[in-house]
Symmetry: C2
Subunit: 225 residues, 2 copies
Amino acid sequence: MNLPHTEPGPPAEPRRARGRPRKTADERDDGNRRQLLLQTAARLFRQQGFAATSTRDIAAAAGMQPGSPFYHFENKEALLASVMLEGMQRALATQAQALATQPADATPEQRLRRLVQAHFAVLLGPDSDFIPVMLYEWRSLSDTQRGDVIRLRTAYEATWVPVLQALQAAGRLRGDLHLVRLMIFGALNWSAQWYDPQRVAQGGATLDDLTDTAMDLFLQADAAP
Amino acid sequence: MNLPHTEPGPPAEPRRARGRPRKTADERDDGNRRQLLLQTAARLFRQQGFAATSTRDIAAAAGMQPGSPFYHFENKEALLASVMLEGMQRALATQAQALATQPADATPEQRLRRLVQAHFAVLLGPDSDFIPVMLYEWRSLSDTQRGDVIRLRTAYEATWVPVLQALQAAGRLRGDLHLVRLMIFGALNWSAQWYDPQRVAQGGATLDDLTDTAMDLFLQADAAP
DNA sequence: CCTACCGATCGGTAGG
DNA sequence: CCTACCGATCGGTAGG
């Protein structure tokens, strides 16, 4: 699920067996630190919002000094953009895997179910702060950085189109397809505002419950008995 | 649509015909200024977010000096809470009117259509910055102020329950009703993220188009021919 | 509601 | 990645 991220650091050099063993540890540390900053920023951005989260907050939560985030990221906006790109890369990977592990003769309904499941997993499952940040901190991104995120997001959404078209052709889905797609995404994405994974232990809805409800709500009942 | 708002100012005294005519103008101005601040704050909070909008921004956009908003509102959070309360009061008024102007023998489907129409009107229609702020700046509210907003919001959502129950009883709606309601609200509320009223002039979808699509998407086709 | 102001915090940087 | 720091901005207030 952790896609390799483009690293701005120096390329991995072949390491000599002797001299400066510390350097090796530092190199590995750099990746860890950057990843730690990303996770911490995603969590705080989600909880408090981008503008209300200071780079000092993030540094402290990651156990660093106030200036240290700027060693890994050019500025606060670049950190936000990286969180979003990381989120979209994970979402695309999860989506691709969900479809790849499915039989070739899967029905459109089965394919939709897989897409919905993957969507909820990325949105509400473990380590799921990245996508909510992308969904709800959109306006804090600069125009330049927004373009990169949009490209991945367009690809993610395009996967749904043929599935929805097939369902409509089969009479299982009604309404203007463009608007229908936007409303389906709304129904799914809004769950990030109210769903609490903690409550599953106390009888709350599971992600599969959500998927069942979504399918029931969106799809016309199968006419064939 | 503009519900009377509880005014902290002095009660309207009977005015003498002579002496201090300025006082009268000031009193009327007070209400206007407060309302102007509310509208301006709603617009900027929606465009930039609560944390990214300074009280100076709001004052300047309303043609006031940096300290002036604090004459009308105790602090920045109280201004946000007032925007949300104003939004919810308008939403409740619109909802009540939509149902009141409907024949008593309206079908559950017709009642749902009215609720959806009213919802889109408040969310996307003219002067519609208040509700999006309430939906998307939730976490910026203090616990105390959140309670007041929640009460109005609960009332607004409760209106939908009997309508949805009737539709489910009639076989027009499938799925767990609690989750279904949350997903329907999600599909509707998400439109604040992508719908652009400006584009209607260029062939974009109208609010009625959105309502039609929502009904098509959520409701099972009527079995009776 | 304006003027003038304060303490606190913020993003970011130099220099190591 | 830390230390020490800077200029800018912010929410809020006194006093009229």
